[in-house]
């Protein structure tokens, strides 16, 4: 035996690390290798244990008295024929129970009961009538739990012995004072009050995380917070003239509280009680608070409204919650709808409206005075770093502006799907000024920002104009979701996407079908230290600083694309503010077209901040008070001079290119798609990519195309994603993705690391385009379609019918057994969800 082998395996932490990757059968095999291996493998094997609801009686209870013969009961219950099998099973179960009682001191994580309604407990027929005969009897050495998940479920029409389940829960808590994570998610019994009583009687000083999935009823939240507040005391610390509250109770460790409502619970009672309580609220020392599926609306009488139809701020649930959690760092008060969302015929936005029926009724349920709630939140919870207020309607745009301005330096995560009160202007609080501007300023406070890592703005279509600014100026972004927020492709081009560390991206890209201009101008307002979207009228006031987004494509893009792909990236090219190509030419076309970087450099060269800002009286509408840098996406025009002027002059009243523009027409859609794929291909750390879109999509009175993800439209640029991409979701896109060429490409480039069958087939066939008939399964032939050849033959077409698409998918599934493909039919098209589900 080599010394390194023996040495490595003998180190307990290494051995443990290896065993943590093994499944149960492998662990039991390891338990028979040697004594050292046995001790560690048993330790790992017994770390986690699961007791289904129907076995709770066997493992955690015993009969109070032997009133009837069990065998007699069993024979009567099962009949002679099944009794033998029953006996065998019972004998086997007895051995499990014996071993459980012997080894349970090793258990650190215990799950009791089932955790979903679909797995309703089926009580044994011999027991259901004798439940009162059973009493809680925990093994005395079950005392080392760190995690307990209690999800006892009873079948609805079987008798429920609430005392038994309550006793078991209470005993588990009292017997395991070192619990760090407690999950309570019963169907009906025991009620949450049993838990609260148990926690009162046996305070868990090591508890870090408490998770409830139940209905708290009217007073439940108040009771819970009062229970938790009792165990924490606060001390006001003065630091740098700021006061902060820190818990001082020794041993108090609860950091996270998660409450998931099963229905659509309301905390109305909590709000009313909080309003009526004249004392200062007792704070709770929790740093992470999650409330899922709670209705934030409170029903009040009209007499509570003031003359403006507004309510006092103390009717806000959010207001009272923040006051109870002064050291909060993560506030998540929304719904977990987005987590479970799968491709469907409905857009994400429609999905939300179907799920939350109250949205129509409370579409603009902003009850308070603007800014009031935001200021109260900031005062109560100044340390927030993660905010999820998705689906909230009670914040004004002014509130969002104040919140994001305050939290921007420290914010790591913002989830704000379906919040229609937020406008692009407010969201832009999270985007720092451009590097060129920062250089010009000689520094900026945003350089010390922690850096936003997560952003979810799905179902907020108004926020589309801000999306490209995040891709351009927020390099720390790792998870970005914008489902149901169609963004024009041209806005996303003309610069390199800086967030190359992106791991999750969900985006809806609109591909233009023809050239038309569109003005989206962001300008850094020095006086207000923020980005500001300026209108076309404002833009015309200061042509020197204006760069417009124009979707006009007036030069051959394809040759430019080809020569620029792979070329070195040039930032802030100063050569052509009048450059001809538009942003569609993609990431590497800085030398020719990047008008926004050009804008930066030009404006740097031509307009100095101090000059501009001092020239005119500052006003919101005056462009002279703005900084020298204006931000827009690549405009385009062929002639020299100011692209903004050009765009303005060249366009007709409908926005269509005027006759003055050169008549160089290209295939907008294809070239733009290629450029988008180039940008996507740079995100080599992507693990999950969701692409939304629809062909013939009508939006903003125009018709749009979508990413087709074919080889002709740039699919091959996504090859670098193979390093890390685990899940690709494409829905409502064009069906051309299921062409055979594309299927082969996916099989070869995205799943090949696990696709041993495919790799073997490729090697055997000597490449992707040769095969011998029958060498691979091909459901196409069995279906009798026109698709010919065995699995690896190429027979893709420009367009495929639904039948051929199905056949191609079936072929792909046959090649890649570990690849899961989900289809969803939307009208005449099909959407596909590719993911790798791997068994553990």
């Amino acid at each position: 035996m080599t010394s390194s082998n023996s040495e490595a395996i003998a180190i307990p932490e290494i051995l443990q690390n290896v065993f943590l990757h093994l499944d149960r059968p492998s662990l039991h095999a390891c338990a028979r290798v040697s004594r050292l291996w046995r001790s560690w493998s048993l330790h790992i094997a017994w770390l986690f244990y699961y007791i289904p609801s129907q076995d709770i009686i066997d493992f955690l209870a015993q009969r109070r008295a032997e009133k009837m013969s069990v065998n007699g009961d069993a024979k009567e219950a099962h009949g002679e024929a099944d009794y033998e099998e029953y006996s065998l099973n019972k004998s086997k179960k007895l051995r499990f129970v014996q071993e459980f009682k012997k080894q349970c001191f090793r258990i650190q994580s215990l799950t009791v009961g089932d955790d979903s309604h679909s797995k309703l407990a089926v009580m044994r027929s011999v027991d259901k009538d004798n439940l009162p005969e059973w009493a809680c009897a925990l093994p005395t050495n079950l005392t080392n739990l760190v995690h307990l998940r209690f999800g006892f479920h009873y079948h609805s029409h079987l008798p429920a012995d609430s005392n038994l389940s309550s006793d078991i829960l209470s005993s588990l808590i009292s017997q395991n004072p070192n619990l760090q994570h407690l999950e309570f998610l019963p169907a009906r019994q025991p009620s949450y009050r049993v838990l609260f009583t148990a926690l009162k009687n046996s305070p868990l000083q090591q508890l870090k995380r408490l998770e409830l999935c139940c209905d708290l009823e009217n007073n439940g939240l108040s009771e819970l917070l009062d229970l938790l507040a009792v165990q924490s005391k606060f001390e006001i610390l003065e630091q740098d003239q700021e006061c902060s509250l820190e818990p001082t109770t020794p041993g108090w460790k609860l950091e996270e509280l998660i409450i998931r409502s099963r229905g659509n619970s309301s905390f109305e009672r909590f709000v009313i009680d909080s309003r009526n309580n004249t004392d200062s609220p007792r704070p709770v020392a929790v740093r992470k608070l999650t409330l899922f599926n709670f209705c934030p609306a409170v029903y009040v009488d009209e007499q509570e409204l003031d003359e403006n139809g507004r309510l006092q701020i103390d009717w806000s649930l959010l207001y009272h919650l923040c006051r109870r959690f002064p050291v909060l760092q993560r506030l998540q008060f929304s719904s977990n709808i987005s987590i479970d969302y799968k491709p469907s015929p409905l857009s994400f936005e429609h999905h939300i409206y179907n799920f939350f029926r109250d949205l129509d009724e409370f579409e603009s349920s902003v009850f308070w005075q603007p800014e009031e709630l935001a200021r109260a939140m900031i005062k109560a919870c100044p340390k927030l770093t993660e905010i999820d207020l998705s689906h909230h309607r009670e914040l004004h745009p002014e509130d969002w502006d104040i919140l994001l301005q305050h939290y921007a330096p420290q914010l790591e995560s913002l989830s704000a799907w379906s919040v229609d009160q937020m406008q692009p202007q407010e969201l832009m609080r999270l985007v720092p000024p451009s590097p060129a501007l920062i250089d010009q300023f000689g520094g900026h406070p945003s350089q010390k920002w922690v850096g936003l890592q997560r952003l979810d703005i799905s179902a907020n279509s108004v926020l589309a104009p801000a999306i490209h600014m995040f891709l351009k100026y927020v390099p720390t972004l790792r998870h970005f979701k914008a489902l149901g927020v169609p963004v024009e492709a041209n806005q996303l081009l003309g610069f390199d996407w800086v967030c190359t560390g992106m791991e999750t991206l969900a985006i809806h890209v609109l591909i233009p079908t023809q050239a038309w201009p569109n003005y989206v101008i962001w300008r850094w307002d020095v006086s207000k230290d923020r980005w500001r979207m300026i209108s076309e009228e404002e833009d015309s006031l200061d042509d020197d600083e204006c760069e417009c987004l124009a979707m006009d494509v007036e030069v051959p893009i394809f040759p430019t694309l080809q020569e620029s792909y792979g070329s070195s990236k040039k930032e802030d090219s100063s050569s052509d503010s009048d450059s001809d190509t538009n942003s569609d030419t993609g990431s590497d076309t800085d030398s020719s077209s990047n008008s926004d970087s050009d804008t930066d450099s030009d404006s740097d060269a031509h307009s100095d901040t101090s000059t501009d800002s001092s020239a005119e009286s500052s006003s919101d509408s005056s462009s002279e008070s703005d900084s020298s840098d204006s931000e827009s996406d690549a405009g385009s025009s062929t002639d020299s001079g100011r692209s903004g002027d050009e765009s303005s002059a060249a366009l007709g009243p409908t926005g269509a290119p005027g006759e003055a523009l050169p008549k160089k027409r290209v295939t907008h859609s294809m070239q733009i798609q290629i450029a988008i794929c180039q940008q996507l291909g740079r995100l080599t750390r992507l693990k999950e990519l969701t692409l939304e879109g629809r062909q013939d999509y009508r939006y903003d009175n125009k018709e749009w195309d979508c990413l087709r993800l074919t080889l002709k439209t740039g699919l091959d640029y996504l090859r670098p994603l193979q390093a890390n991409l685990k899940k690709l979701v494409v829905f409502q896109l064009d069906e051309e993705l299921c062409g055979r060429e594309e299927m082969e490409w996916i099989a070869q480039n995205w799943v090949h690391q696990d696709n041993i069958v495919w790799k073997s087939a490729i090697e055997a066939c000597g490449g992707s385009r040769s095969t011998s008939p029958g060498s691979a399964s091909n459901s196409a032939t069995t279906l009798g379609g026109e698709v010919s050849g065995a699995g690896v033959s190429v027979c893709g077409r420009e367009k495929v019918s639904a039948l051929e698409a199905n056949m191609n998918i079936a072929w792909l599934e046959g090649q890649c057994r570990r690849l899961t493909v989900e289809k969803d039919v939307a009208r005449n098209r099909e959407s596909f969800f590719y993911g790798q589900y791997q068994d553990y």
Partner: protein
């Protein structure tokens, strides 16, 4: 900025600081000594192994620093090794364990994880005797113990 790492067989390796600091041990050492050009000795790592370790760190230099996930279940998957890592770990068993030991000593958790996953994949599906043979482990159970364990495990393997 570069740092010089010295292997146990006195071979110098000039490495970018950013790459070297993928090792928490080295990172802490650099923080302790401050700005210094002194080479960092690594008496437990041979040149051959250090070459591999540096190769790994170079490839993963831009990976985000792994933050331990808050989870009650530290069990891990072994079937999600990246393609590059998989090829990187296609070495003989001696080198595999040397890399694991080095990763453990240098405190490079991702490399340690990949190494342990690779070992776990070797173990999976094997009988106890096959495992002993694969890793040259001596069976130190008495015959009676072995019989008892086998009997006990019969029920365990069914669950």
């Amino acid at each position: 900025m570069t740092v010089i790492l010295v292997s146990s067989d006195n071979q110098d390796f000039k490495v970018d600081k950013e790459v070297a600091e993928r090792s928490i041990l080295i990172k802490n050492m650099l923080e302790d000594v401050g700005e210094s050009d002194s080479p960092i000795p690594l008496p437990n790592v041979t040149a051959a192994v250090l070459t591999k370790v540096i190769e790994y760190c170079e490839h993963h230099r831009n990976d985000p620093i792994q933050v331990p996930e808050e989870t009650d279940d530290p069990r891990k998957r072994s079937n999600d090794i990246e393609e590059w890592d998989m090829k990187f770990m296609q070495v003989d068993q001696e080198m595999l364990f040397e890399i694991i030991l080095a990763a453990n000593y240098l405190d490079i958790k991702p490399l340690l994880d990949v190494g342990c996953k690779t070992v776990a994949n070797i173990i999976k599906g094997k009988t106890p005797e096959e495992i002993r043979k694969a890793f040259n482990i001596v069976n130190d159970f008495t015959p009676e113990e072995e019989a008892q364990i086998k009997k006990e495990n019969e029920w365990a393997e069914d669950r």
